[in-house]
């Protein structure tokens, strides 16, 4: 991790080509260094954080005065950093008989801050939680005494989590876990605090900035979706081809505990919706044997979406995996104990994240915990099903190879789509897809669940969602459309995004037929679309032209009277 000075030097670099994100920082202690660290680390993440920093200790004034600079700035993200030291000062000043309700009252204030911000701004709020201070007034008895500061602080942290789980735009940045990791002596330097009102040590600033930017990246749709694992000496000890299934170390044998716990971690990631793929230099049947037969293996074949064991160059194998999964290299993590393989992959596929696993497998987990690779801003049951979807994809690719042309293949797989307006059942999935879709996304305007609800209740908007199933399985909801009535004649396609799972099935033609039918029935003459380029959506650059739209300056338009229904192999699910 770069030091604060290195991050500070980044500030002299050219930010002009980087994506701008407007961020406001409100703190009750001095936050200048934090601002510099965030801005500098932003550069390393290819984002230009345009930061507005409130004057010291102005949280309430900025939030409750609607004419304040904060509201004028209109940030996309607001970071609120209330320090535990200020919290303690507040606790010290109130009457002892009020201590017992301290956390409850603070939470009311935080909830007020949140509602004021989100009611008056279209922003997401990142709240730093509270690092622990034990004022040692009660000793261990603080844990048994509700009015103690430690009790109230921990209660507040817990209640904050509970609040965040209910408020869609409230995200917690867990700086308390950073203090746990580095220790309070490294997190906080009393002499500096006394002289400057700064509560973060210089050395911990990069860690705080990193944890914050992980969250900002995830809010921005940049996060990891897949972990690719090596086998020998990565998920078990020893070499399966040489040592045989009885002698590999997993479970009770040798240092097998390290590998079993590592597998537990991979399994939990899989359950959370991270795709797990295997890339190993092995004979396939030999490599699969432990997954099928070893009693102590935690990971089983059904946990693995793509299993590649061969003797090819690993960079080539990972390209094959990418081809099947159809997700960006930058959303993949590759874990391999062998530094030679790591370097080959790094050199050939620079976008992929390749952690420098420690030499001792006992340290794998602590090291990976610290990297916080799998930040996310959403979790739903649908995500947990992802492995199954990708396993089905692997089968589909196999089946596809049997047909000589695409039309024959599509005709034979019995595709059905359920078309529905946005409703309370599909809104969470639509919001999630809006956050995640990078490739097939024409305008990449991200909507939260609140936004989706607002849109589905608006008279000016018409919405469609599409599921897609075929004989191999159900992909669930994979595409969403938002149409805006621009005037009596023109219908504008505000949003068109589609999951990369269902590329090349003709779903886009089916969707267009649906849009045109609606437009016709409601007396529109023209349908208008727009393509806003990003780093990732080049795949839909010619989307509208391919569908028969005419390019007109920055827009694409289609005259409805000339439209002939596209040939499709998808039927409407009744």
């Amino acid at each position: 991790m770069n030091s604060f000075l290195q991050l500070k030097k980044n500030l002299k670099n050219d930010f002009s080509n980087l994506k701008i994100i407007k961020v406001a920082i409100l703190g009750d202690t001095a936050t200048q260094f934090l601002t510099q660290a965030l801005k500098g680390l932003g550069y390393d993440n290819s984002i230009n954080l345009e930061i507005w920093e409130a004057d010291f200790n102005q949280i309430e004034r900025q939030v409750f005065d609607l004419s304040s600079e904060l509201y004028e700035f209109k940030p996309e993200i607001i970071i609120v950093f209330q320090s535990s030291h200020k919290l303690l000062s507040k606790y010290n000043k109130i009457k002892p008989n009020q201590h017992v309700s301290f956390a409850t009252n603070e939470l009311v204030l935080i909830e007020n801050i949140y509602s004021n911000l989100t009611n008056n701004l279209d922003s997401k709020v990142i709240y730093y939680n509270f690092t622990e201070i034990d004022d040692s007034i009660f000793g261990n008895h603080a844990n048994k005494t509700e009015s103690s500061f430690l009790f109230q602080l921990r209660k507040l942290n817990y209640e904050l989590m509970s609040l965040a789980s209910k408020k869609a735009k409230l995200y917690l940045c867990d700086i308390s876990s950073i203090q746990n990791q580095v220790g309070k002596l490294n997190f906080f330097q009393a002499s500096i605090y006394i002289n400057t009102e700064m509560v973060l040590s210089i050395d911990v600033l990069p860690k705080i900035a990193s944890k914050t930017i992980d969250l900002i990246n995830a809010l921005n749709g940049t996060f990891k979706k897949c972990v690719i694992i090596d086998l020998d000496n990565t998920i078990w000890g020893g070499i399966i081809g040489d040592d045989g299934i009885e002698n590999i170390q997993v479970g009770g044998l040798g240092i097998g505990k390290a590998f079993s716990e590592f597998q537990d971690w991979i399994k939990k990631l899989k359950n959370r919706g991270i795709i797990v793929a295997v890339c190993s230099k092995n004979t396939e049947s030999v490599a699969k044997e432990p997954f099928e037969k070893h009693p102590d293996m935690v990971l089983r074949m059904e946990d693995i979406s793509v299993f590649k064991a061969n003797w090819d160059n690993k960079a080539d194998t990972i390209r094959q995996i990418q081809n099947i999964l159809n997700i960006g290299f930058d959303s993949m993590v590759f874990l391999d104990d062998n530094s030679f393989e790591r370097n080959i992959v790094r050199e050939n596929i620079p976008e992929i994240c390749v952690p420098e696993l420690p030499e001792d497998p006992a340290n794998y987990l602590e090291y990976l915990y610290e990297l916080n690779l799998f930040e996310t801003v959403s979790f739903s049951n649908e995500e947990a099903d992802r492995t199954r979807h990708y396993q089905i994809d692997t089968e589909r690719v196999k089946d596809y190879q049997k047909f000589t042309n695409e039309d024959d293949f599509l005709k034979n797989i019995n595709m059905l789509s359920d078309v529905q307006p946005f409703n309370k059942f599909n809104r969470p999935r639509i919001a999630q897809l809006s956050q995640r879709s990078n490739q097939f996304n024409l305008r990449t305007v991200r909507y939260t669940e609140d936004d989706i609800e607002r849109i589905s209740n608006s008279n000016a908007c018409t919405t469609f969602s599409f599921t897609l199933e075929d004989k191999f399985g159900d992909n669930g909801l994979v595409c969403a459309i938002i149409l805006n009535k621009e005037n009596d004649k023109t219908l504008f396609i505000d949003t068109w995004f589609m999951s990369c799972r269902v590329f090349k099935r003709g779903l886009e033609k089916f969707v267009l037929n649906t849009i045109i039918n609606f437009a016709k029935e409601n007396g529109f003459v023209t349908v208008k679309g727009e393509y806003i380029p990003t780093d990732k959506n080049a795949i839909v650059k010619d989307h509208y032209v391919n569908l028969g739209f005419e390019k007109e300056q920055n827009y694409f338009s289609l005259e409805i009277q000339n439209y002939q229904d596209k040939k499709i192999y998808i039927k409407i699910k009744k």
């Binding site: 000075l5 500070k8 002299k12 500096i192 002289n195």
Partner: protein, 79 residues
């Protein structure tokens, strides 16, 4: 370690921390003599010096320096 050694070490820290290779401090140098040396960067200098000499300044010491020489006086008391 003598005063001269300490001064030259501190000079290196100033150059690196303030990102200005032209800096050449002396015992009589004050914050007003160096453009980049303000109350904020002062903290970075203190932390860097603490690390370099493996010492910790007290909060009172941090407040007390009017010039570089006084800083060196304090460092010398730590060995």
């Amino acid at each position: 370690m003598g005063r001269k050694d300490i001064l030259s070490q501190i000079n290196k820290i100033f150059i690196d921390t303030l990102d200005n290779s032209d800096i050449n401090i002396e015992e009589t140098t004050q914050a007003t003599d160096v453009d980049e040396w303000d109350s904020l960067t002062n903290i970075l200098l203190i932390v860097a010096i603490e690390k370099k000499f493996k010492i910790r300044f007290t909060s009172k010491e941090i407040q007390s320096w009017s010039q570089v020489g006084a800083m060196i006086d304090t460092i010398l008391t730590k060995f």
